[in-house]
């Protein structure tokens, strides 16, 4: 009798524990479209997999990096974590992420991804994640103001400088962009470097010097870029644009909800980045990764499911992100709306910030370089030379 009871209890407790796998999921989408997209995605996953329960924690972006350090130090990394693409390699180097190379080698979709986003998930030849969605920056402009001044949308640097000068008045800057000394500033500056055919490994070269010279001239000679830009984040740039203080700005699609909700009295449009020979933009967006020491098998199940085309597309539509795998990016939905289409085109030419595990330091040195020129502490040549000296040793 007792043995039967014991058997029953054991069977019952075994089935009870195997009924639910609980996975921890961390991301930094605390509000807005991305937050909704994640909630929807997780709900769909759980509906399709009743034996899995995903506990999602949404951590403020400013806090995520320190939380990951703490979690890695105490062995409490979540099973699934969504990381910003420029931080991915640094986190892999810290040992915070699980190595997914074997899973990916056996995955049939491992050749679908665009080079740019994919490169941010690779560290030391091993894979540490899969891209989720991408976006890029582009040139926003106040169509009314440009038409009134009879100016065409600039496509080259010369046209940009001329347009900015012509559009600057006492109450308005011709061109606004974020030049604050955080990642937002680097995020805004790099396409200038790339658009001139340059890159970080030759940061001491002419391409970079010319990019610095362009911005320096626009700010300090033409006065078409306000000095206050050295303290603006992308949000402040957008607020200036919406208040009519800027004729043109560099920003990303995350401003679209704000622009649409604001009920502005002018028409705004989006165009490709003005460049000096190389069409370019910069990749924003996040990647899926698995936390080191978590349930990597189960995490991979989740990650491969959420990135499958039929599951990914609805999520991208809610969040407003652009697909970065060929089989999803070809979908018409990314070309229907002219604004989204512009961003999708920009994503296609955008570069990722995949410069190794020291990228955070490199980014800081780049903004030091840019700001030192803007405040007149160094000439573009001096700044480029100093940057090369500090940045070259940091590259992989």
């Amino acid at each position: 009798m007792f043995r039967l009871l014991f058997l029953l209890v054991t069977l019952w407790s075994l089935s009870a524990t195997s009924a639910q796998t609980v996975l921890q999921w961390w991301d930094y989408y605390t509000d807005g479209a991305n937050n909704q997209a994640m909630q929807d995605l997780i709900a769909r996953y759980e509906a399709a997999h009743p034996d899995v329960d995903i506990e999602r924690t949404s951590i403020g972006f400013g806090d995520l990096k320190s939380r990951i350090i703490q979690a890695a130090a105490t062995g409490t990394m979540p099973d699934i974590v969504i990381v910003d693409n420029p931080d991915h390699q640094a986190m892999a180097a810290q040992g915070a992420l699980a190595d997914l190379t074997d899973y990916i080698a056996a995955w049939e979709a491992n050749d679908q991804y665009f080079d740019g986003p994919w490169s941010s998930t690779v560290y030391n030849g091993r894979n540490y994640g899969i891209p989720y969605g991408s976006n890029a920056t582009a040139l926003y402009y106040n169509e009314d103001v440009l038409t009134e001044a009879g100016i065409d949308v600039p496509e080259t640097w010369d046209e940009l400088r001329a347009a900015a000068q012509a559009l600057t008045t006492d109450t308005r800057s011709g061109f606004c962009l974020s030049m604050i000394n955080t990642e937002e500033g680097t995020f805004t500056y790099l396409p200038f470097l790339w658009g001139n055919g340059g890159d970080i490994p030759d940061i001491g070269g002419e391409a970079n010097i010319e990019a610095l010279t362009l911005l320096n001239t626009m700010m300090n000679e033409d006065d078409s870029v306000s000095r206050a830009a050295l303290n603006w984040g992308q949000g402040e740039v957008n607020n200036q644009f919406m208040a009519g203080q800027c004729a043109m700005m560099i920003n990303g699609p995350w401003q679209i909800p704000n622009l649409e909700a604001a009920d502005l009295d002018f028409t705004w449009r989006v165009a490709d980045w003005p460049n000096n020979g190389t069409p370019t933009s910069i990749l924003g967006g996040e990647n899926f990764a698995a936390g080191a020491g978590g349930d990597t098998d189960a995490a991979w199940q989740v990650i491969s499911w959420v990135t499958a085309p039929e599951n990914l597309l609805p999520t991208l539509q809610i969040s407003g992100y652009i697909a970065n795998r060929a089989d999803v990016a070809s979908n018409d939905v990314f070309q229907e709306d002219p604004v989204i289409a512009t961003f999708a085109d920009q994503v296609a030419v955008a570069k990722a910030r995949a410069y190794g595990e020291n990228y955070p330091q490199i980014s800081e040195e780049i903004m030091n370089m840019v700001q030192s020129v803007m405040i007149g502490a160094r000439t573009p040549e001096q700044a480029a030379e100093a940057a090369a000296a500090t940045i070259m040793p940091l590259l992989p």
Binding site: Y28, T30, D31, D63, S66, D84, Q234, G235, N239, A243
Partner: protein, 274 residues
């Protein structure tokens, strides 16, 4: 003073208005439409008011009442624990013949010598091993660790200003040392206790670093952590942040206004002792 007191009141109002202007700016920014935040000339009185921000806050954070409750619990808990530890210690340092007073003060001040964010990581490591993360007790202990030295240093002068003869007299009357402390000295030091208590409550209420480090779930998140919901990677919903802060400011404000009465009570008690 010869001239009418009311003039002083007027001057005081002007001073207050000047000092609190940034708070006024915060409150009106909350309800301005986004493009008006950077309007030029600056809008001192909002031309268009957008009340939807409050709806946004409550929709994004359905747990807001819970956040306020958590902040209140942490604030009150920190205040009680801190005063419980600091008042006797400050009295001891002020009046009792103890050796090593300097050492005690130094040890307690050490916790203040690091930026809070640096203490957070090691504390997180200990607390997670002790199972103190994601509960009120952990937050209260962490906040007390910072509020305690502050209260110690602040309360000591108050106890010093009370004449030692009073406690001696109570002792002679048959009180124990603790009895003299609780029945005679403590009530007389109440202006100091209220002041230290208010600041300690504010530390607990306002703490952001420990709240973010030591809590994971919404169930224990204080008000300050709710702010982070609106600060994103590329974009910050400033209206919501300002509106949230304006709401978060109200409970402590009520606290100050009511606490004023107890400060007065402390003063009259001081007069009676003469």
């Amino acid at each position: 003073m010869r001239f009418p007191r009311v003039l002083l009141s007027v001057f005081s109002v002007l001073l207050l208005m000047a000092f609190l202007f940034p708070i006024y700016w915060m409150a009106i920014t909350a309800i301005k439409p986004q493009q008006a935040i950077f309007a030029f000339p600056p809008e001192f009185v909002p031309r268009n008011v957008d009340w939807t921000v409050f709806q946004r806050i409550f929709v994004s954070n359905p747990d807001i009442p819970r956040y306020f409750l958590n902040s209140a619990i942490v604030g009150v808990g920190t205040t009680l624990l801190t005063l419980l530890l600091a008042a006797p210690a400050a009295y001891g340092i002020a009046h009792l013949p103890i050796r090593g007073k300097g050492l005690i003060i130094l040890v307690s001040l050490s916790s203040l010598m690091f930026p809070v964010v640096m203490l957070a990581t090691p504390l997180f490591v200990i607390f997670s091993r002790l199972g103190l993360t994601d509960n009120y007790f952990g937050l209260i202990l962490a906040n007390t660790a910072l509020a305690l030295p502050f209260s110690l240093v602040v309360l000591r002068p108050f106890f010093l200003s009370l004449p030692i003869q009073l406690s001696e007299a109570a002792r002679i009357d048959g009180c124990t040392v603790w009895g003299a402390f609780v029945r005679v000295m403590l009530p007389l030091a109440s202006p100091g206790l209220v002041t230290a208590g208010i600041f300690t409550f504010l530390f607990g209420w306002n703490d952001l670093v420990f709240a973010l480090t030591l809590t994971n779930t919404d169930a224990f998140r204080p008000v300050t952590a709710g702010l982070w919901t609106f600060i994103g990677v590329n974009n910050t919903d400033w209206n919501a942040v300002m509106a949230f802060s304006t709401l978060a400011m109200l409970p402590p404000l009520v606290l100050f206004l009511t606490a004023q009465r107890y400060v007065i009570a402390g003063l009259t008690a001081g007069a009676v002792k003469q």
